[in-house]
């Protein structure tokens, strides 16, 4: 008799339960506008969380992603504003801004990864440090206020967040594509296998001729680029960045990864689970806003309970299989 595997099915069951609950509480829940809204808002954390799944699976951690997103958004806006007078309000300007965000993410991820693998500093310490650095830099760049994108460019750029194919907006499509690619890589690519091996036991990986430092560095670079991609989709939403952009994104991303069944100690990555985790967290938020049962101010508390519960359920499964 095969028992329910909470690692893979648990998050899915929770997600379905939430959808049923949401539908019962408010008929507007299943309206296309609401679904688009929930999915599009999930996309930022979702893209980051997919990258975070690889970092955590390899036995690492990145606390800097929220600050990094704010910093990259600031950089992209500054770059586009600076180019607008010479290049004009033009897609070329926006593409350069996008390039700045993604290449900046690559560089920031490389910085984290290099400090961890080459200087051999704990990931927690390194990214705690860079978290402070990026946050401080964006606040400084914005001079304590807000950096706003040129209004002409903002109008041009807007469809990247709000447009798309039917109700599938670009953020949703990007998130879906990255999630599928991430799941595929974790399951079927050499990179994914190496990431799991390193997180499971890095000494075994080293003795098996895996370039442990390179793979580890790659996970941080990948995460940095996905943060950059999230920024590309985020900037057209509000057209601005400030010291309070992306606050607590890192914890939401880590929470989504953990709810999805990826082991925090590494070695077992579940990209599908992470996607479920992201959706669960944003559905809770959405349902609380739609229904008047509980104050939305309690959102954080409910999410906290879900995180702890998810880990407890997964551990019980684990303990049972130990026997």
């Amino acid at each position: 008799m095969k028992k329910i595997d909470f690692h893979t099915l648990g998050p899915l069951i929770a997600l379905i339960a939430l959808i049923v609950l949401g539908t019962l509480l408010n008929s507007a829940f299943l309206a296309p506008a609401n679904i688009t809204n929930v999915l599009a808002r999930s996309a930022f954390i979702g893209l980051i969380a997919v990258g975070m799944t690889f970092v955590i699976t390899a036995g690492g951690l990145d606390l800097s992603v929220g600050s990094m997103a704010a910093f990259l958004a600031g950089l992209a806006i500054i770059a586009m504003n600076a180019l607008a007078p010479s290049l004009g309000v033009h897609w070329g300007t926006i593409l350069i801004g996008m390039g700045v965000a993604i290449l900046g993410g690559l560089a920031a991820g490389y910085l984290n990864g290099a400090l961890i693998t080459k200087a051999r500093i704990e990931p927690f310490i390194v990214t705690l440090g860079t978290m402070g650095i990026f946050r401080s830099l964006i606040t400084w760049l914005a001079d304590g206020g807000t950096l706003s994108l040129d209004s002409g460019l903002r109008t041009l750029y807007r469809p990247v967040y709000y447009g798309g194919i039917g109700w599938l907006t670009w953020p949703i499509l990007c998130f879906a594509a990255v999630a599928i690619a991430g799941e595929w890589s974790m399951r079927h690519s050499r990179f994914g296998r190496h990431v799991e091996a390193i997180g499971s036991n890095d000494r075994v990986a080293r003795y098996s001729a895996i370039d442990v430092n390179r793979v580890r560095l790659m996970t941080y670079v990948l995460l940095g680029m996905l943060v950059g991609l999230a920024v590309v989709l985020y900037v057209p939403r509000l057209g601005s960045a400030s010291g309070s952009t992306g606050v607590l994104w890192e914890l939401e991303a880590i929470a989504a990864v953990i709810i999805g069944g990826t082991a925090l100690k590494g070695g077992r990555g579940r990209v599908w689970g992470t996607v479920m985790g992201v959706l669960i967290l944003s559905l809770i938020d959405n349902i609380l806003n739609l229904a008047n049962l509980v104050s939305p101010y309690l959102n954080g508390a409910i999410q906290g309970v879900i995180i702890v519960l998810a880990v407890v359920l997964q551990r019980e499964k684990h303990a049972a299989s130990e026997r």
Binding site: S189, A197, V204, S208, I210, D211, G267
Partner: protein, 493 residues
């Protein structure tokens, strides 16, 4: 009267019965050896006696009265102490803190002085020079074992259950262990001793119980069973040709080291390895054998010249080693060899993944490789998708061998090929190694078990304190000569 006994005990896990009607009695002042192949039921018996498991049928008798231990600590409180193969010590605490862990004297305030004095007294009783203040993490493996024994003594052990205590020790250290065991026996402690080393059993045991497939197949008193007799009883058939016949290496030199050093560990080693040869490397643990192998394989930084097939080779990582057709099979299969939580397939192909697709992993090719490996190396796994850590030690070692062979090495360095493996599987692994050499592979076997190097190797190098102490072959290849070279006493006869 026996202190601790199993009375007609059977034990089942779900539908699987692993022990059938076992009677075993431990007498005070007696060393009782429990031997059997892996999977014969030794560890289950130890767990039943140590209070970690309850019998399905039958009972455990303490001083002749039926008893049911609530847990391991409960059994320990009644004077039954188990020393596990993997030590149960906190590395970051001092020796004294470990000895009194969980039973610290004094109220809410730690009485450091009392713990230190009591620990020092225990260590004196064991003639051990270890300081009670030393951190366990800084101690050598044999010293850690001494701490375990001191810990057992501090609990006023009446019964001491030892699981493969000598597996991690070298020849000399084993001698010290024997002294401690004999001393405890004199003090009236009942000792259950599990070991794969039959020479120790013959030397130490007052009484021997042989297990096979969960049943007691033979009981003997001291002197009634020869080592051959024990092995036959364990396996259930006569063990003929335990070691395969030796080979005839060609004159071609596959690997040559010129002045290889690993900083602080290995000094100025020069050696040659011929095609088709099995070269043994003997020496005490800590003599630099593993460090030499890891230096050759690129897992440690080394200086000096490595020539492969006559060409100088630069090997800075395991990857470089594989590229030159040189593979190292680690002695530490649990920590450096296999991913214990991962299934067999992922373990098998880990070191050779690029052979299974350039980017995408070809899962069906992997499955085919696993089929071939389980057949070629006789890996016995109840289920294909089981984690490697659930395999028996012998099957783990075969899987590790299969994994290493997937990289298609021409030079193979095997460190402790049969550590903690039962007699039947040992013989199989020896046959595999010889077969590989016959196929033209050049093999270096590092081993602490002298009969193994002598039985298996065409030629043996002995290391001492990071240097080559000598070379033995033919008639000069005897245990006595190896010990002399390894310990640095006199010349080889």
């Amino acid at each position: 009267m026996s202190v601790l006994a199993l009375d007609n005990v059977s034990k089942s896990f779900g539908p699987v019965t692993v022990l059938h009607g076992i009677d075993i009695a431990l007498e005070p002042g007696e060393v009782h050896a429990l031997i059997g192949e892996n999977g014969a039921g030794k560890s289950t018996i130890m767990k039943l006696l140590g209070g970690f498991l309850d019998p399905t049928e039958g009972q455990v008798l303490l001083d002749g009265k039926p008893v049911r231990f609530a847990s391991g600590p409960d059994a320990e409180a009644q004077g039954i102490v188990v020393i596990h193969q993997e030590f149960n010590l906190a590395r970051d605490l001092s020796v004294a803190a470990n000895v009194f862990l969980g039973r610290e004297p004094g109220g809410w305030r730690l009485d450091h002085k009392a713990m230190q004095e009591a620990t020092a007294a225990l260590l004196r009783r064991l003639d051990s020079p270890i300081s009670p203040d030393a951190l366990v993490g800084d101690l050598s493996v044999p010293d850690r074992q001494m701490v375990e024994i001191a810990k057992a003594l501090s609990r006023n052990a009446r019964v001491l259950i030892m699981d493969e205590p000598s597996a991690v020790l070298t020849h000399r250290e084993v001698g010290a262990l024997y002294d401690q065991i004999l001393r405890l026996r004199e003090q009236g402690v009942a000792i259950l001793y599990c070991s794969h080393r039959l020479d120790e059993v013959a030397h130490l045991a007052d009484r021997i119980t042989v297990l096979r497939d969960g049943r007691v197949v033979r009981r003997a008193a001291r002197g009634e069973l020869t080592q051959d007799g024990m092995a036959s009883a364990m396996v259930g058939r006569e063990l003929q040709d335990f070691y395969p016949p030796k080979g005839q290496p060609s004159g071609d030199i596959a690997l040559e080291l010129r002045g290889l050093s690993v900083p602080g560990r290995v000094h100025d080693i020069s050696l040659t390895l011929h095609r088709g040869e099995v070269l043994g490397i003997a020496g005490l643990v800590g003599s630099g054998r593993t460090e030499l192998a890891e230096g050759i394989a690129g897992l440690r930084s080394s200086s000096g010249e490595i020539r492969i097939d006559g060409q100088p080779a630069t090997i800075r990582s395991a990857r470089d080693g594989f590229a030159h057709g040189l593979a190292y099979l680690t002695e530490d299969r649990k920590e450096a060899g296999l991913l214990l939580e991962k299934p067999l397939r992922e373990n098998l192909t880990l070191a050779a993944l690029e052979r299974f697709g350039s980017w995408r992993i070809d899962a069906s090719a992997e499955d085919a490789a696993l089929d071939r490996a389980t057949q070629d190396f006789d890996i016995r796994a109840p289920r294909r998708d089981m984690p490697a850590g659930k395999l028996s030690g012998g099957n783990q070692q075969k899987l590790l061998l299969a994994k290493t062979m997937l990289t298609e090495p021409r030079i193979l360095i095997i460190d402790e090929p049969t550590r903690g493996i039962d007699v039947g599987t040992k013989s199989q692994i020896y046959a595999f190694i010889r077969q590989l050499a016959t196929q033209g592979l050049s093999v270096i076997v590092i081993s602490s078990e002298m009969p193994e190097v002598i039985g298996l190797a065409d030629r043996v190098l002995v290391m001492r304190e990071g240097r080559l102490a000598g070379e033995l072959q033919g008639a000069a290849l005897t245990e006595d000569n190896i010990v002399r070279l390894a310990m640095g006493v006199g010349e080889a006869a």
